[in-house]
C-alpha cells in the first residue's frame, strides 16, 4: 500500500503568496516521504472521473453536459440574462481546472438549450478580494465568457437588501443583476468546522454571494450551529427564489471528482451532498483524529487553514481531536471563529469545556501557504516554523496577519525547518498538506499508522458514527441506499 510520493499541486503566482520562485523545495520530495492512496485506505470510496487515465478534464465536460441536459431550463428565454454564480473554493479543488471546466460547460449548455446570448460569470470570494479575478484570468474564463462578462466580486462590493424570515440580510448586487441565477458549486466538505455538514450546498448564498453584513451575521450573531440558517434564510427569500433556475455541482470525495450533479431543486441536491458527504469524508476525518502525534507541513497555494491533505483542509485537522460531524456533543469545535472569539486575555478558553486545538499537531512547518485569512490564532497555539524570510515578510504586510509572525519563527530552508521540527518534537510522523490528488503524502511511519488504523476507523464510522451523524440530521442510514 505504501507508494512513492504523489506530485503535489504546484506553487502558483498570486498576490496572496510568495513568488513561486521562492518555493525552493516541496515537502513530498524530502527523503523518507511516501504516499498512501485513499482508495487503499477506504476501498468503499467510489471511482473517480478526475483524476483518471487519459484526458480526465474531458470527463468533467462530458459528465457536466449529461447532467445539465437532464434538468429543466425552460424558464430561461432567449432574451433573458443569466448569471452563473461561482465561488473561489471551487478553484482550489484538484488543481482548479475541473471547476473552471464545469463553469464553461454550464455556459455552453445554457446557450445551446435556451438560446440566451447573455450568460455571465459572477465569481464570489471570501477575504481575498482579488482571488477569483486571478482564477478568471488563469483559466481563461474572461475570454471564454467574453469581454466584461466574467467578473470577480468581493463582499464589500455594492449590496442589495434581501428580505428574509429573519429580517433584512444583504446580498451582492452584481450576483443578482440578471433575470436568472445558476448556482455552480461542489460537494467538497471544506469548512466542516463552520458548516457542520448542515445545508452545505446552500452556504454560498450566505457567504460568497453575500455582503459583509450577512457574513458577519453568520460568524458573530447566531452561534456556531444556528449560523447555518443564514444561507437558508437568503435562499428561501422571495427575491432569490424568483431568480433561481438550478444548481450544478461537482460531485467530489476526498480522493477526486466522482461526477456532476445538477438539479432544479437545491434541497434535493443538498440532501445528497449532506448525507453522502458524511459517508465519503467521515472516514478520513475520523482517521485524522486517530493520529497521535505529528508534524504538519503546509505546502499548497492557499491560505493557512485551506491547504489540503487527503481532501481535508488544515483547519479541519486542527479540530480533528473532536468529532466535527457531531452536532449535539460538540457545539464548539476546537477551531471555529466562535471558538477563537472565546479565548480570554490570558489566551485561555472562556469556558472550561472548549476543547484545545488538536494536541497531536506537535509542530507546523509552513513551507508554502498564502496570506489572506487571519491565522495568528494558529501560530499562537501551534508551534510554527515558517520557511524563508520572504514568506515571513509577506505575512507581516498582510492586514489580516500582522501578528502571525509574532508567534512563529523563520528558518531559511525546508530541510532546516524539518530537522528543527524532528529534533524538537521527537516524532518522525509527518503529514503533508500539499493537495496530492487521490492520496496523501506522508512519512513512512505516518503511512503505517494510517494503514494500521484505517480498517477499525472504517468499521467505527459505518456502524457507530455514520448512523449517529445521519440521525442528528433527521434521517437514518437507509437514506444512503435511497440516494444511490
Amino acid at each position: 500500500m505504501i507508494r512513492k510520493p504523489i506530485t503535489p499541486i504546484p506553487a502558483k503566482p498570486s498576490q496572496y503568496g510568495i513568488d513561486p520562485s521562492f518555493v525552493k523545495s516541496r515537502a513530498s520530495k524530502l527523503p523518507g516521504m511516501v504516499s498512501v492512496m485513499l482508495k487503499d485506505l477506504f476501498p468503499d470510496l467510489p471511482d473517480t472521473i478526475y483524476p483518471a487515465e487519459g484526458n480526465a478534464i474531458e470527463n468533467i465536460r462530458k459528465a457536466a453536459r449529461e447532467s445539465l441536459y437532464k434538468i429543466d431550463m425552460s424558464m430561461i428565454k432567449p432574451e433573458d440574462s443569466v448569471n452563473i454564480l461561482a465561488s473561489h473554493h471551487g478553484f482550489t479543488l484538484f488543481g482548479g481546472e475541473p471547476y473552471a471546466e464545469l463553469l464553461k460547460a454550464i455556459k455552453d449548455v445554457v446557450e445551446e438549450r435556451t438560446g440566451s446570448k447573455n450568460v455571465r460569470l459572477r465569481a464570489g470570494v471570501g477575504m481575498r478580494f482579488r482571488e477569483t479575478e486571478e482564477y478568471i484570468k488563469r483559466y481563461g474564463l474572461d475570454t471564454y465568457f467574453g469581454k466584461g462578462k466574467a467578473i470577480g466580486l468581493a463582499p464589500i462590493d455594492e449590496g442589495i437588501p434581501i428580505e428574509t424570515e429573519i429580517g433584512t440580510l444583504y446580498g451582492l448586487k452584481k450576483i443578482y443583476d440578471a433575470d436568472w441565477i445558476i448556482h455552480a458549486h461542489h460537494t467538497d466538505v471544506r469548512e466542516v468546522h463552520f458548516h457542520r455538514q448542515v445545508d452545505k450546498a446552500v452556504k454560498p448564498f450566505g457567504m460568497s454571494y453575500a455582503r459583509i453584513e450577512t457574513r458577519s451575521t453568520y460568524h458573530q450573531n447566531l452561534g456556531p450551529r444556528a449560523a447555518n440558517f443564514t444561507a437558508r434564510a437568503i435562499f428561501e427569500s422571495e427575491f432569490v427564489q424568483s431568480k433561481f433556475a438550478f444548481a450544478s455541482f461537482m460531485d467530489v470525495g476526498p480522493h477526486g471528482i466522482v461526477g456532476v450533479d445538477s438539479d432544479n431543486d437545491l434541497y434535493a441536491l443538498n440532501d445528497r451532498a449532506t448525507f453522502i458527504g458524511c459517508q465519503r469524508y467521515g472516514k478520513i476525518m475520523t482517521l485524522f483524529g486517530d493520529i497521535d502525534e505529528c508534524i504538519a507541513v503546509l505546502d499548497f497555494p492557499c491560505p493557512v487553514p485551506y491547504v489540503f491533505a487527503a481532501g481535508v483542509i488544515y483547519a479541519n485537522f486542527l479540530g480533528a481531536n473532536t468529532d466535527l460531524y457531531d452536532l449535539e456533543n460538540n457545539a464548539l469545535p476546537a477551531y471555529t471563529w466562535y471558538t477563537e472569539a472565546f479565548y480570554d486575555k490570558q489566551d485561555k478558553p472562556i469556558l472550561g469545556d472548549i476543547p484545545p486545538l488538536n494536541p497531536a499537531i506537535k509542530m507546523c512547518v509552513h513551507n508554502y501557504a498564502w496570506t489572506g485569512y487571519p491565522s495568528a490564532f494558529f501560530s499562537k497555539h501551534i508551534p510554527t516554523v515558517v520557511v524563508g524570510k520572504e514568506q515571513g515578510d509577506l505575512f507581516d504586510r498582510d492586514s489580516m496577519n500582522l501578528e502571525y509572525m509574532d508567534y512563529a519563527t523563520t528558518i531559511k530552508t525546508l530541510e532546516g525547518a524539518m530537522q528543527f521540527a524532528h529534533q524538537t518534537t521527537d516524532t518522525d510522523k509527518v503529514i503533508i498538506f500539499d493537495g496530492a490528488m487521490g492520496g496523501i503524502n506522508v512519512s513512512e511511519s505516518m503511512a503505517r499508522l494510517l494503514i494500521d488504523k484505517a480498517p477499525a476507523v472504517s468499521e467505527r464510522v459505518d456502524k457507530v458514527l455514520l448512523p449517529k451523524w445521519l440521525k442528528q440530521r433527521g434521517v437514518d442510514i437507509s437514506i444512503l441506499e435511497k440516494l444511490k
Binding site: G126, M127, F129, R130, A154, P155, I156, D157, E158, G159, P161, E165, I166, G167, T168, Y170, V198, R211, I212, E213, T214, R215, S216, T217, H219, Q220, N221, L222, G223, P224, R225, A226, A227, F229, R232, L327, A331, L332, W337, E340, A341, F342, Y343, D344, K345, Q346, K348, I350, L351, P374, A376, F377, D396, R397, S399, M400, N401, L402, R473, G474
Partner: protein, 206 residues
C-alpha cells in the same frame, strides 16, 4: 489595538476617479478630489480595501516610514460600565470581536465611552475592522446599538448597510419551524460566554 505598518498610496496617472476606494474605506481616509483619489495618511488604517477594489490597480499598499499604534486604554474606564455595555450587546468583555487585529469587546466599549459614535470612528481609534473588514462589522453595530447610538450608514458608501438579527432577536416562529438548527442551544451557549467572568477580568476589576 493595532500597529498600522502600511499605507495606501495612489498612482494618480492610473486613477480614474471612480470613487470605489472611498466607498469601501472603513475609516473614511480616502476621498476623490478633482477626479483623483487622495489618501489621508494619518487616518489610513491599512486594511487594503481601496487597493483590492480599485478597477485600475491605481492603489498599492506600501510600508510606512513610521508605524502608528492605535488603541484605547481600557484601564482608564470604569470596568462596571464596560461590562454593562458589553452585556447589553451580548458580548463577554474579553471576547475577541476582530479575528484580524484581536480587538476585544472591552476595547470597543471603551472607545464608545470615550466618545466614538460611529463604526468608522471606532475602527479608527481601536483598529477593529481594518483587517479583512468583513466578519466583525456586526459586532461594532451591536455595540453602538447597545449604547443607544443611532446607526446611520455613510451616505453613498458601501462601508455597511445595517445591523442584522442576532440569537436574541430571532423570531420564535423561525426557532419553532427549524429546530434542527440548534437555535435555543446556541443561544444558551452564547449566554454562558457573556456571563462568565474570566480570571483576568476578576484581576482587572479589582
Amino acid at each position: 489595538m493595532k500597529e498600522v505598518t502600511m499605507l495606501a498610496k495612489v498612482d494618480v496617472d492610473k486613477c480614474i476617479g471612480c470613487k470605489i476606494c472611498a466607498k469601501v474605506c472603513p475609516v473614511l481616509s480616502i476621498k476623490v478630489e478633482n477626479k483623483k483619489a487622495v489618501v489621508d495618511a494619518e487616518a489610513c488604517r491599512a486594511c487594503g480595501n481601496c487597493a483590492d477594489r480599485c478597477p485600475t490597480y491605481a492603489i498599492e499598499m506600501v510600508m510606512r516610514e513610521t508605524p502608528i499604534k492605535v488603541g484605547v486604554d481600557v484601564s482608564k474606564f470604569d470596568h462596571k460600565e464596560i461590562r454593562e455595555l458589553c452585556e447589553k450587546a451580548h458580548f463577554n468583555p474579553e471576547q475577541v470581536l476582530c479575528y484580524c487585529t484581536g480587538v476585544r469587546a472591552d476595547e470597543v466599549a471603551a472607545a464608545i465611552l470615550d466618545g466614538a459614535d460611529t463604526p468608522e470612528k471606532i475602527s479608527s481609534v481601536t483598529g477593529i475592522r481594518t483587517g479583512c473588514t468583513i466578519e466583525c462589522v456586526q459586532t461594532v453595530l451591536r455595540m453602538l446599538d447597545a449604547a443607544g447610538i443611532e446607526l446611520k450608514p455613510v451616505e453613498g458608501g458601501w462601508q455597511w448597510y445595517g445591523k442584522t438579527t442576532t440569537s436574541w432577536t430571532l423570531p420564535n416562529s423561525v426557532k419553532e419551524k427549524y429546530p434542527s438548527f440548534y437555535f435555543e442551544e446556541d443561544n444558551e451557549l452564547l449566554d454562558r460566554i457573556v456571563n462568565t467572568v474570566t480570571e483576568s477580568e476578576k484581576e482587572g476589576s479589582k
